[in-house]
């Protein structure tokens, strides 16, 4: 592979970038100009469009981490590891968005920043699990070990999520719940806006993923070239 070849991103990247830009603009227009306010909560309810989208995408990202981890352990091809790593990083970013916007919405509509509600709590634990995943990556220096151990943890972490969800849910049903999160009457226009923002975030996810993979690939290539140069010497 020549140097010129690996530094070009290809046409696909630009198409994805523009599609993301357009979809995000449309969804912002819909959220702020077009969609009606929720009757009870007022304008604050508009937080949910990006909040829910990023929550779904975060979960998808972690699912992708698990799938790529299994694929890496089966094939030992570093390309799977690269996808898993970028996906985990973006997943943590989206989880952070969920964790930041969740309390802001909660403060506005329930008058409490944080409630130990099962969804919020599971998201917090999810965040810690994938921070741990990134910590594992940063504490090994050899490529192969880094890939192998983080793949093992990527699988363990994902298996753990349903158990965490169930135990926290049972814990919260035993204690009195302070707030009920149900009862959100959805107007058809709200559903449409939600779907468009979900699409926008999906495109954003794939754009970031593709960019992350590209950067990691050139980084790996640079390492290989460096090694070759020292060998020639």
């Amino acid at each position: 592979m020549t140097i010129h070849n690996i530094t070009s991103k290809g046409r696909f990247h630009n198409i994805l970038a523009w599609a993301t830009f357009i979809a995000v603009s449309v969804s912002i227009y819909m959220i702020f100009m077009w969609v009606p306010n929720e009757k009870v909560q007022g304008p604050v309810s508009k937080i949910i469009y990006f909040h829910i989208s990023s929550a779904w995408l975060a979960f998808f990202a972690f699912f992708l981490v698990m799938v790529c981890s299994v694929a890496y352990l089966k094939t030992r091809d570093l390309k799977w590891d690269v996808i898993a790593y970028s996906s985990a990083e973006i997943g943590v970013l989206f989880t952070t968005i969920v964790l930041v916007t969740g309390p802001i919405w909660g403060r506005a509509s329930w008058n409490a920043w944080w409630t130990w509600d099962h969804r919020l709590t599971t998201t917090l634990i999810l965040w810690f699990i994938y921070i741990a995943y990134l910590m594992i990556r940063s504490s090994f220096s050899e490529e192969e070990k880094k890939a192998r151990f983080s793949a093992v943890f990527g699988i363990i972490g994902f298996i753990d999520v349903p158990i965490v969800w169930m135990s926290i849910r049972w814990w919260r049903t035993i204690h009195p719940t302070v707030v009920s999160s149900g009862g959100f009457a959805m107007d058809p226009r709200m559903v449409a806006t939600l779907l468009v923002s979900l699409l926008a975030f999906t495109l954003l996810f794939f754009y970031l993923l593709q960019k992350g993979i590209f950067i990691l690939n050139i980084k790996n290539q640079t390492q290989i070239i460096k090694q070759k140069i020292t060998e020639i010497r």
Partner: protein, 226 residues
């Protein structure tokens, strides 16, 4: 050498090495009691509220002491390249995991047998005779779940540059279900609640134990590659 004799050989090896110095066991025990004493100073033990959080306290002590022990189980094999020796032994890799888990479980059992009655004494906690058996069951299932994940992740982190720091960070989020259900079940049993109130927590604990004792069968080989 078959699977089970491999497991028992590793458990024996660990116990023999440990009982020469008893260094790990004594530090785990002292650490558990010290943690409780710090709790006593931080929260006044004569208040009624503190008695309600007693189950939480004992589990925090167990888990903190347990992390100490679990952390050592593979790091100690790094000295003189002992791990390579174990890997060369004609046994299944999974047997190494179960052997280490068994060894850690025995350490924890020893620590708990000494520490838990001591905790009850220090807090003047009258445990009704009827709740002793369920309590032992909960402590066993909780410790098993903790050790099952802990041993597996300790094997993973033992290769890292700073394993002592890494292990708690990756272990605690994964074992949230264990600590949650163990504390809830212990609390329910100690307050003399109906069996139906804590049996669901036992189910979660059992499910966790079963899952994290079988997952290593598939994944442990990848952790111990050279």
């Amino acid at each position: 050498m078959n699977f089970f004799s491999g497991i028992s050989a590793i458990i024996w090896k660990d116990l023999k090495a440990e009982f020469r110095t008893k260094q790990l066991l004594s530090s785990m025990l002292i650490f558990a009691v010290l943690t409780l004493i710090i709790f006593v100073f931080a929260f006044d033990p004569t208040k009624d509220v503190v008695r309600q959080v007693f189950p939480g306290m004992i589990w925090v002590c167990i888990v903190f002491a347990g992390v100490l022990g679990v952390n050592r189980s593979f790091v100690s094999e790094k000295q003189n390249d002992c791990l390579t020796g174990i890997l060369l032994a004609p046994i299944n890799r999974t047997a190494i995991y179960y052997g280490k888990t068994g060894g850690n479980l025995i350490y924890m059992a020893i620590v708990e047998v000494i520490a838990l009655p001591l905790f009850a004494v220090l807090f003047n906690y009258n445990i009704p005779a009827a709740s002793i058996f369920p309590l032992i069951l909960v402590v066993f299932l909780g410790t098993l779940g903790f050790i099952a994940v802990g041993t597996f992740l300790a094997a993973l982190t033992s290769n890292a540059r700073s394993s002592e720091i890494l292990l708690p960070i990756i272990l605690f989020p994964v074992m949230v279900p264990v600590i949650l259900s163990a504390v809830q079940a212990t609390g329910a049993i100690l307050s003399g609640a109906q069996t139906a109130d804590w049996v669901s927590w036992l189910k979660i604990l059992t499910a966790f134990d079963v899952i994290f004792l079988t997952v290593p069968v598939l994944l442990f080989e990848y952790v111990l590659e050279v």
